[in-house]
């Protein structure tokens, strides 16, 4: 399972970087989205994959049964998703404003005529 996810993460990174290198602000945003998803999945994968064993302490015991899934990577990812959502929402607005102001989607056309 880890191998499959490793390949998925690799593909997400490759696609993200490819999109960022295209000459388009919109594709740049898509690239950033893919990159942050890749990072989130990476944390999930390297944190260890355990299926169907929630880390809940049974009645009477003092520690969760081993092996059980590590809840911390999921908490990290959840935080990262929320932050990523806010940051991407802001950059969408910024890029849209840039598109309106400069009248072009091509990063090379962002010239300051002063």
């Amino acid at each position: 399972m880890a191998t499959v996810l490793a390949i998925v993460v690799g593909c997400l990174y490759a696609a993200g970087i490819y999109m960022m290198l295209r000459r388009s602000l919109f594709k740049l945003i898509l690239g950033l989205v893919l990159l942050s998803h890749g990072a989130n999945l990476l944390i999930f994968t390297v944190g260890g994959l355990t299926r169907g064993r929630p880390p809940i302490v049974p009645p009477g015991a003092t520690r969760p049964p081993t092996p059980s899934a590590d809840p911390l990577p999921q908490a990290l990812i959840l935080t990262a998703i929320v932050i990523g959502f806010a940051v991407l929402a802001f950059s969408l607005v910024l890029f849209h404003r840039g598109y309106q102001t400069f009248g072009s989607d091509d990063p090379d056309d962002l010239k300051v005529s002063e």
Binding site: M20, L25, L28, L32, L35, S36, G38, A39, N40, L42, I43, T45, V46, G47, G48, L72, P73, L76, T79, A80, I83, A86, V87, F90, S91, L94, F95, R97, G98, T101, F102, P107, L110, K111, V112, S113, E114
Partner: protein, 512 residues
Amino acid sequence: MPNVLLVLPLLIPLVTAAVSFLAWRRTSLHRALAAVGAAALLAAGVTLLIYVWNHGTIATQAGEWPAPFGITLVADLFSAIMVVLAGIVGLAVVVFSLTSMDRGREAYGYYPLVHALLLGVCGAFLTGDLFNLYVWFEVMLMASFVLLALGGERAQLHGGIKYVTLNLVSSAVFLAAVGILYGLTGTLNMADLAQRLDGMDHSSAVTAVGMLFLVAFGIKAAVFPLFFWLPASYHTPPGAASALFAGLLTKVGVYALIRVFTLLFVQEAAFTHLLILILSGLTMVTGVLGAVAQQEFRRVLSFHIISQIGYMTMGLGIAGLVDSPALAALALAGSIFYIAHHIIVKTNLFLVSSVTRRLCGTFDLKRQGGLYQSQPLLAVLFLVPALPLSGIPPLSGFFAKLSLVKAGLNAEQYAIAGTALVVGLLTLFSMTKIWAEAFWKPMPTEPVAETELSLLTPLQTRRLLMPIGALAVLTVVIGLGAEFVFTLATSAAEQLLHREGYIQAVMGGGTP
């Protein structure tokens, strides 16, 4: 007492920003709150520094969860010094903004954003947890994104898009590095990480993660070859905002670099710290050469920020390569001294550039002029930060550079020491260029095109010169009281090198 001291530098800007956001559009309230908040932050920082100086490294656990599980706030001398510097810059910039900021930006939340930025910066300085560091970085970045784009001028959008993109890439790299490090060690508490990394064999994986952190923090700190966002964006926002950026943002990246490469990734120092040293040299050279080609006041200064980041990381590189602890402490102390000097001086230079723009109507050095004749006080206040920037004695920059070069020579790293000296000379050349163009030569005869700018009244000029003068006095004080500052920096460096104290303070269950 220590718990309160550690939380106050976060609580003050947070409360200031939150209350201001609630009182939306009440600009006069924003102004008053921002000034009081910044002064309180500085006071809290100074109190923290005095406490840490007397009692050693202090730590507190959020919600009383014991060390590797809860979120740790920790302050050693280095953190405390940085918080004080953030307070100084915050106060100076807010006071400067009270006169210089336009009504539009004030109405759209300029002051709460400044405090949100200070919150992120102080959080990054005080956290003892790597993921928490990521969160504080994002708080700081989010505030800086909005401050950069606030106003929506063409140049701002142009710079903002580059700035946002490269910083988001850096955040993604940072996040991936944090994830892999957690997978390797099972912890993200920095003190706990330091212990576990020491006992691990597969150091090549650890070094690879270290390199990811070098890239992530290198982008934030604008290290060669990752600095392109900085000269593209720093000259676009209003003067006060760019002074805040110039003073603090890249230095948070440098702080993070120094923190992780003294506390965590020290196993393969012969490779990692040599790389940092090489990058430092290249950063110095490219930055200063970039500045030579510029004719715009703030772009010259922006390239000099890059150049001086090289000096700050140079001490870190030397410290990792030498065996003698005294020499390592000297190099790191040089770095810390340089950061302190640079933050104050660079903020001040950006503030001066903002005043010259308001007096001449442009940032273009070719079209500025005659300021020595019309504003002699301003001219002196430009020279006070400009000369130490290039290392002229007896001001602050001389002593910072002296200890770095001395450490380089003693460590037999002659190439970097030589580079540092030559770059200092080129810096002086750039500062002379600004002096000759903006202050010395007569005012150009053709009228300035940007007439929509309201030129300053004498009263406003005096008000703007207040924070500039205060920072200039501080530069002189650091230069004259260099021995005290150097003792402080050396103690901070020794704390960084003797990691047991830090680990003890965090893992030993609160304050020692």
